[in-house]
Amino acid sequence: MTDYTPAQKKALELGKSTSVTAGAGTGKTFLLTQRYISLLESGAYPKDIVALTYTEKAASEMQTKISHELKKQAKTSPRMQECLDSFHQASISTFHGFCLSILKEFAYEAGLEPGFAVMDDLDKTELVEDTIHDVIENPDENLFDALVRLHLRMHQKTIRSYVKLIIENGDNRWFELLRNEPETVRRIWYSGFTEHFKIGEDFSKLFEDVSEQDYLFALREMFFEDSTNRSLLNRLETADEKHLKSGRAKYLNLAKSLRKAETHTEIRSLFAQYTSAVDGKKAFVIPDDELDRANEFVNVFKALPYLPGKDSEVFLETRNVLLDLYDVSLVCAKKIASAKQRVGVLDFDDIIQRTDELLSDSHPDILDAVSSRCRYVLVDEVQDNDPALVRLLRKICGDVSKNDRLFIVGDAKQSIYLFRGADSQGYAEFQDDFGENRTALDTSFRSAPEIITFVNEIFQDIFSGEYDPDYDLILPNRKSAKGSVSLITLPQDKEQGVENEAETLASWIYDKIENRKLVICEDDGVCRHAEYSDVAILIRRRTNLGKLCAALDKYSVPYIEDGGKNFYQRPEVTDLFNLLSAILYAEDDLALYGALRSPYLSVSEAELERAAFGSHKPLYIRLRSFAEENKDSRIASALAKISRWREYAKHMTPTLTLEKIVSESEILAVYAGLDGGDRMEANLMKLLGIARAKAVSSPFSLIEFASLLEKSIELNVSDGSAEPLEERSGRVRIITIHSSKGLEYPVVCLCFAGEKTLGNAKGVVFDDTLGAGVKIELSWMKDKCGLLHTALEEDRVNREMAEAKRLFYVALTRARDHLVISATAGENGYNEKSFMNMYEGAKSKVSVECDVCDGRCCLPAKKAEEVSYFSNAVCVVPDAKEEEIVSESDSSSFAMLRGTRLHAVFAGLSDDSEFEKQYAEFMSSSLMQDVVFECCELPVICGTERRVIDRFVQYADGTYAVIDYKTGSISSAKERGFFEGYLEQVSEYVRLMSEITGGTVSGWLYFADEALDLRIVSL
């Protein structure tokens, strides 16, 4: 009997829909499995339950776990046995997989090609990028001017990325409004702006419906009429140098200049100066009672460059640019959609969108059908799914406050996919649907008490912002475990900050593991010393990965990167691409050079240089000359391999060619000998898998594969490195926080925690209220300005900071026994948007004793010696024979086709007039007289050998005959040397038929063109 915690018990109560908040390590997968089983126990069958997970891996794990549990229970329960028997009908999949199954079933109703395929990211990127490129480079006439205008304002790369973002966003309502009702949009922007910049009503009245030229002058008047300003300016102008902060004397004549200014540009510039003087009291000390009013003006001045007033240049420019981008994106989107339709594919986004459309009011019967089929729905990691999931779940499950159909598990604190559209706000609202039926798991089965206390204490404080979730304390379950929390805090070091931190961390790990200073307690209570494989280094992003690896190398700490850098930028990929290019395109100097110095061929730089230097001819010609003179050189052997592979490429399928190249290059031997070689091998195998998948779906050549690789490398298509199957044990794992989600490690080191955690805003921003915005260049502005970017920036930063806090939470809660945080301070302490800054803010509340380390724990040990060479090993190479090219084809296609047609006519399968006469002659020939039984095209099998006898007949006297027809003449058959073969063939047929029938069989060759029969043999 399973022991449940009270919270688990509550979550497992059936009879109502339930929302469960499951903090890190509190056993949510276990809970989902138990809920599933409970539903089965209560009478449901696997086909009635839909379980949705965030990843395919999670889905297959859940399926395995449930199946285990079922099997266990089936031994004693016939009911569970019944469920186990029908478990194959269970629907346990990702959200996408679930939607896909609906679309597949209702493809016709959804207006889709039945049997449509799903595009992978590679295909999608290729299609989108190629289409955008094509539209931008060769636009239709009506788009040409828009593109010229865009090119005048931004780089082509920027246009492409903006168009892509608009296509991805897919919501055209705002653009249409912008096109058709610009004034409406301007007013919305205007009010959004004034609200965002907290511009008081007195100011906003001033601007509305006044042209930009006019409102600046009006504002100046207002500025000088304001007593606070007057007093401020007065003091500024009369202040002694000593009362001004150093370097601020430039503001002295500000008021004078402002009064005199004649153009709006001058006024604008002087307002900016005032802002600079007042903002943050930079120029002089402002009494508090004046500061608020001064700041009101400052806010207005700050907003001025972006203010979408009437006839505002920013507004007009933004509108024009957005509409031009929109027009381009419309054309691209249309082309992409028609290309997808032409080949009958959907991408991942389409799957969700089309399901949403299908389950809409226009298809009530389908919604009913789907809804009644999904009697119970269990959803994992709800916080990471986008709003579409919530929409669909609401449609399918109805009012969950009144029914028992839905069971969701999530944790707002672990919502870390904002960049993919995860909607933590939406999740919070969704939880409200459940009314009182909400519960939170509170016991961590993962982390040691020290870590839990540390996490509780700091996150109670950290999660306190507008976008932060509530924090419920976690209780430790592993009370006897002895854990630790350590901080590696390093002072500022401009030059070597990152290197220093990486090395300090490496030394910490080395010291703790090598000197057996860390103890790990297993679940069974047995304790042991930590090993390298217990350690995971978590990083926010891969920027400093190289430095981290170098530091670990320096300390001889074995490690493995999880995921590694972008797949298509990996050397395994670029090396194979270079090699393929060198094989396919001898003229490609750079590819050939790259291939030769890659581990595939490993020609030394010195030898290459000797062979290539001193000529301007194509590289392969230079190398060929060198190889001819130096037959034993590596270059000669490499060129021989390349030309052999070139031959394979000409005769073998692309996938077999690739296998041969991999095998003959012995690249896996090299990878096996390298650190990280497992991943290299896995990546290479992934590449072969990609080629295979492409080859199965459509005609595909090696040239096309090379071209696909080239594009993927150029576009840096997003794809992660492959997971090695066989990881050599005893390695520290380096993993991003995102990838670590759902995992746990005995020792977790969060690295570079002092660095900024946020990224930059996307080029085009979208907002439900304000629409879309883009950054543009205006001649009078120093930097590019973005009307909405500016208005939305603060909110974006707030949201991303909230996400960063959640990332921090996820990172720390991966630790089972020991947690280490390392950080380097900057000039002014830790970056204000760093994890460490969050910690610093909450530090005072931490009661856990943290080990603090502020320097290297030890020095790196001496490196191992280099690999030695072998002298005695015997090398054996398999002697698989290559297919040789056969000599001239033994029959021309014409003769062959003619023969086929003749046989069809003689077998009565065709009435080709060309053979009408021959057939009549044959039927009246002596061979066909007295026939009582006949078979045409009679196949005979002996073991695995198959023969087809043209005609087998039985005569009235009981004897049989085998007849073989031929086109052409006897003499030509003899001349071409075929005749002997014909004789053997008929003899063989006679022998077979004699054995089968046990009777007398004669054999005949019949030359149809000559109406000549020739008795060959009789048995």
Binding site: L590, E659, V876
Partner: protein
């Protein structure tokens, strides 16, 4: 009579009866694999038609009873459905496939399409048109042939009819069997209890197949015959391609390649000689680089290539960025243009006038004949593929709709589909080949060693709840027991497959196929829990042995024998040399460069920026086609030319001549830009940027502002100092190059100007050597006084002056002199490291291995 037994028993009975009645003794089995197995078991000759599946039985009946019904091949059925569905359904390929599937299922189940939905009505309309056509033309597809055969079957009255293992016969098949033989001898496949079973879980499909093949090799090495080993999978179609690839690396006794035999055939679509033909057809309406390259590289085409290869084409595309195939390439690429014109003309010529499928096939055959493809020497596999392709063309030619209009796009689509689905060749096999089949192929057979792979929950049971085009409800309404029966059948065949192992059974599944994650099949876990396997290196695979050897090298372990490795020392060398910084023989560069006293500024500047880049471009002189192509490079040439033309006539621009100068510069810019022939929006925007427009101030006007400044200072341009070759002597080191422009004052002072048309201007004086070099050269040539030289940065956005030299002209020259000396010393020492900061785009990024090089001297 009902009996439960194995295929051997059924075959013995068949042989016995066949001796007396060869034409009247029948053995009916469930599928082609069992049929093949039966032929193997009966080693004496037999009439192939007498051991049959139900589908083949129907064909034989129709043929032998001279029913006169023509059996149409699948591709013809596809064409017929396409033509009848046109106008009823949107003409898309997958709806046709689905309609056919639905038609087949309904026919097999003796049922009709439901008419209560719009799509049901539409489908029925297509089916009825198809049936009418078949009736009119006395033709039938392979499945409907069963129905047609029923009346003729009654007349056959076989002396002996043995049915073996017909577990899941359809109602239609039962009808035929019912009339064919009133007293058939029925054998149900025997399912004995399982004996020796092992169950494994593997990380991914590739590993699963590799480990299985390794075990098979071990068996064969221990003397087990290939025929005694059976590999089964629920997903044969997807397993075979990967199995073929992986098996190619396995060897028995380290010398005999491991092969398999199967009743499935291998698609010909990707065999290069076939792919080239498809590319040829596709090129007649939509030529693409990859297709043209495939044609150029196909030796079976006797095209006059005149030295043109896929590489020539690729280079031309990279250099020009053009996709205008008949005019591609630079001026020197006339041959390429001619060859491509020949190919495209050939591809288009006959197809242009072709209208029907028959026309197109004839045109293609004529083209292939002209191109020598039909008679060209080929490998055995290629020859087999060629014959399969001819047969496909034959069948398409003979198809009932082949005289109907057919667009070239449709023709290509039909050919591709045919090459993928209908034209196959056998997998190569040898005497040791083991057998491969799908699960149901083993029912009732006995094989000592059986491996069943791919047992994930996604593959088995893999029963679609729906019929093609129909929903779950519609399917249920039509065939209420279909799902249940399929599930039972699947379980039965799985059990039967397991039971076919007489000595040892090995079951496995993989957790992933490399992308998707899988759970074990419930059918598998019902037998037992999979054992997680430690990933071992397969000892019979070349890959496995190579990996072991590599590991031994890395761990410095001795190796007795390294199978699959050509030279272990070479492997050791390669492992140790990967990612090492370049090293050369001592004195090599000294030898080359010690005598060199004359350099170009580009030589030195490139080294200053990135020694590796210098090494590739200047030392090895490797060609980089993208150097010739991009718009930034072309705009540079345009602007240089414009300014050269202007200042060859005018010596300066003053405030008075500014307006005229602007007009003239605009005219020259337009002229020069037009000459490039580029007509993209970005090019037009550049032009507007230079000339000026509402959105952007003219950068030429900004340039004029700069020029009037020069004029005010008294600088004038002598036309002889435009684009002039100059040479500076730095203590015996001569550096010569072409100075964009030198402006001079009457007092002899001068300034070197260097035009830059990119957005980034060098700010590091150490990396900017041209201006000081030219300044020194002009000083030496004229005796004048140099001023600090400037970059004139003129882009379509702006024009501005900038200089990285902040410390006056003398310091500029003397510092540069030092830098030059340093660079030459580094060059002589052969220091080929990498630049400290790589640009965003570097053509050498993927060959430099900078990130992989661990230590750099």
């Amino acid at each position: 009579m009902n009996d439960t037994s194995s295929l051997e028993t059924a075959c013995s009975l068949f042989s016995l009866n066949s001796k007396t009645n060869p034409f009247d003794t029948w053995l009916i089995v469930e599928n082609e694999d069992v049929r093949r197995r039966a032929f193997e078991l009966i080693s004496t000759p037999v009439l192939q038609t007498r051991i049959t599946t139900i589908k083949s039985l129907a064909h034989t009946i129709l043929e032998e009873q001279k029913a006169g019904i023509r059996i149409i091949p699948p591709e013809e059925q596809y064409l017929l459905f396409s033509s009848f569905a046109k106008g009823i359904f949107p003409s898309s390929k997958s709806i046709i496939e689905n309609l056919i599937d639905l038609y087949i299922t309904l026919t097999l189940n003796n049922t009709d399409c439901p008419l209560d939905t719009e799509k049901g009505k539409k489908a029925s309309e297509v089916f009825s048109k198809y049936r009418m056509w078949c009736a009119e033309h006395n033709a039938s597809d392979a499945i409907s042939a069963i129905w047609y055969a029923i009346p003729f079957a009654e007349q056959m009255k076989p002396a002996c009819c043995i049915c073996f293992g017909l577990k899941s016969t359809t109602p239609l098949a039962e009808n035929l069997l019912g009339v064919f033989s009133s007293e058939p001898i029925i054998f149900d496949a025997e399912i004995p209890p399982l004996s020796d079973v092992e169950i494994f879980e593997y990380g991914n499909t590739r590993e699963e197949i590799s480990q299985t093949l390794d075990a098979i090799c071990s068996l064969e090495e221990s003397g087990v015959l290939g025929d005694d080993i059976l590999l089964l999978t629920p997903t044969l179609q997807t397993t075979l391609p990967i199995l073929e690839e992986i098996a190619a690396g396995f060897f028995v006794n380290r010398k005999t390649p491991l092969t398999f035999k199967t009743s499935e055939r291998k698609s010909i679509q990707n065999i290069p000689v076939i792919r080239a033909v498809l590319a040829f057809v596709s090129s007649s309406y939509n030529p693409k680089e990859t297709d043209l390259a495939s044609i150029l590289e196909c030796r079976a085409f006797n095209i006059k290539r005149r030295g043109v290869t896929a590489g020539t084409l690729h280079r031309a595309v990279k250099m020009t960025g053009s996709l205008d195939w008949r005019n591609i390439g630079t001026e020197e690429d006339e041959t390429l243009k001619t060859v491509l014109c020949d190919i495209l003309n050939k591809a288009e010529e006959r197809q242009k006038s072709a209208r029907t499928m028959q026309d197109r096939i004839s045109a293609l055959l004529d083209d292939l004949g002209d191109l020598g493809w039909t008679t060209s020497p080929m490998t055995k596999t290629e020859d087999a593929a060629r014959n399969a392709f001819f047969s496909l063309l034959d069948r398409l030619f003979a198809a009932g709709t082949s005289h109907a209009p057919c667009s070239i796009q449709d023709f290509y689509a039909i050919l591709s589909r045919g090459c993928r689905k209908n034209a196959g060749i056998p997998y190569p096999e040898n005497e040791t080949a083991f057998r491969v089949g799908k699960l149901r192929s083993a029912a009732g057979t006995k094989t000592p060693y059986v491996f069943i792979i791919g047992l994930s929950s996604k593959s088995i049971p893999n029963i679609s709840a729906t019929l093609p085009l129909l929903t779950v409800q519609e399917t249920k309404a039509l065939l209420p027991n279909r799902y249940k029966k399929s599930a039972e059948d699947t379980a039965y065949y799985f059990e039967a497959a397991c039971a076919s192992a007489s000595r040892k059974l090995t079951l496995s599944y993989a957790k992933s196929d490399g992308g998707t994650s899988f759970a074990p099949s419930p059918l598998l876990t019902r037998i037992g829990e999979p054992n997680k396997t430690d990933c071992k290196n397969p000892v019979h695979s070349v890959f496995g042995c190579q990996k072991s050897a590599g590991r031994c090298v890395a761990e410095r372990k001795e190796i007795d024998e390294a199978f699959g490795v050509l030279d272990i020392n070479d492997t050791a060398y390669r492992i140790s040399s990967v990612n090492k910084a370049p090293s050369f023989e001592e004195g090599r560069f000294l030898e080359i460069y010690s005598e060199k006293k004359s350099f170009s500024p580009s030589f030195l500047e490139t080294y200053a920026n990135c020694p590796f880049s210098w090494y590739i471009r200047h030392h090895l002189s490797l060609e980089n086609p993208s150097d010739f192509s991009s718009e930034p490079i072309k705009i540079g040439n345009v602007i240089h030319k414009v300014l050269e033309r202007y200042f060859s006539v005018h010596d300066c621009i003053t405030e008075e001549t500014a307006d005229l100068a602007y007009e003239e510069l605009c005219r020259l810019t337009v002229e020069e830009m037009e000459k490039t022939g580029i007509k993209t929006p970005s090019w037009k925007a550049k032009e507007l940027g230079y000339l000026g427009c509402a959105a952007k101030d003219s950068s030429l006007k900004k340039l004029i502002g700069i020029e009037t400044g020069f004029a005010k200072e008294g600088y004038r341009t002598d036309s002889s100092w435009l684009e002039r070759e100059v040479e500076a002597d730095f203590d015996g080191i001569k550096v010569s190059g072409r100075a964009d422009r030198v402006i001079m004052k009457e007092n002899g002072s001068f300034m070197v100007l260097d035009y830059k048309t990119g957005n980034k201007v060098e700010t590091n004086p150490k990396k900017s050597l041209q201006i000081p070099i030219y300044s020194e050269a002009v000083r030496q040539m004229t005796g004048g006084t140099p001023s600090v030289g400037n970059f004139v940065n003129i882009t379509s956005d702006t024009a501005k002056l900038s200089t990285p030299f902040k410390n006056g002209a003398d310091s500029m020259i003397s510092d540069t002199k030092k830098h030059i000396a340093e660079i030459i010393e580094l060059v002589k020492a052969g220091k080929i490291g990498h630049g400290d900061k790589c640009p965003d785009f570097c053509p050498y990024k993927h060959i430099c291995r900078k990130e992989e090089v661990l230590s750099d001297d």
